[in-house]
Symmetry: none
Subunit: 128 residues, 4 copies
């Protein structure tokens, strides 16, 4: 069963997108593997405190991308091949890193400063 404990919803960005991204990142990390069972719409909606319809939209998108397999009346399962996993991982890493680099450069931060900032934050979070 896929766990959504680590998902912290942020205001201002569409909820269904956050759910889709969370699942994709889990697949990229290997936390979510092929055949994993997804909690039902109702359970997930209660767990995240959002409307079942919002969950449904996220699931529909994942299904259209071939990452989720769901049939009426039956449970839903993750459907991700090693090839897809690798592709997702690369895409997400590139997108995240690129966003940060763009922001840093625009703020006049040097590469060394950026790396220091990242490593410091990384260590700080590990202590928590």
């Amino acid at each position: 069963m896929i766990s959504f404990e680590g998902l912290i919803l942020t205001a201002g960005v569409p909820i269904y997108q956050q759910i889709v991204l969370y699942v994709k990142r889990g697949m990229a990390a290997g936390t979510i593997v092929d055949g994993d069972e997804l909690p039902s719409r109702r359970v997930l909606s209660a767990l995240l405190g959002v409307n079942p319809n919002t969950i449904q939209k996220a699931c529909r998108i994942l299904e259209e991308e071939g990452l989720l397999c769901s049939h009426a009346g039956a449970k839903s399962y993750a459907s991700v091949s090693p090839r897809q996993m690798e592709q997702i991982r690369r895409q997400l890493l590139q997108a995240d890193a690129r966003t940060l680099v763009e922001a840093m450069k625009q703020m006049g931060v040097t590469r060394e400063e950026a790396v220091t900032l990242i490593t410091d934050l990384w260590k700080g979070e590990e202590e928590v």
Copy 2:
């Protein structure tokens, strides 16, 4: 005069937020300093290819945060003290870095791998 040449609008996220963030990052970088003049609503609207109302909304937000000083019928000027600049810089850097670290960790990326990814991307962009 504040330049908006580096602003590349991304689809999916509110335009006025992108404008606000662009100005804030410029202030954090020192590119935009206290007293800098903002292009008129009309000019900016034409420059970015967006609706004047959208520009107006971004300006209103910046004004409410005390980062823009505008009087009716007159030009608008950046209003940022060294103390504000430092605060904005720290906030934005922390936010961006934290977002990346969270994403990387969720995807099971090690610190070394993340740093390598960042530095590589940084160099690659410099060549462009």
Copy 3:
């Protein structure tokens, strides 16, 4: 025993409604008369390839309208008086005809054109 051979399920409209309508039309046609036995839930479910719950819902509606008489653990029988049959027949015919006339008129079809269309289609189906 009531036959359901002629029932062709259409997607998009609730199945239980289609079943109810099929039975009513059979009563209006005299194909289904008072005392006729209904196949069991299980058999009907298998015959139509539908969930037993859906069959159950259709039966409940017919029962509430007094057109079906079923006792726990026993078979179900059609319960329709000549008066009811005539009423159902008139209602359904009027409803169907009215729907068509409305549609035709809205599309600017003349009465002659409509009659020709109907008779042609009628003959065409008889050949099949």
Copy 4:
């Protein structure tokens, strides 16, 4: 401006489908021609007493079928070629007539009886 006065919403069938069908029938009848302006979402929603989102869904479907042309911030216009009009007309007429013939046959009505029913109803409505 396209008029929706003749649209009477029926319960049990999706509202957006009824709206789509109404527009198509208008095109088939020549009542709605290429370039005709559609009332705004808000106006239509108030006129029909339904949610603007329901109107939006109907419009989206019409747009996907190439029968409506709408741009953000601008009015929406019907977009139907003579060829499309003829095609729609044929499809709708066939569908409506076929539905009626099936129903009538199932109820054991003869062709003559059906035609009489239709013509009588047609005259009756004309008097109204």
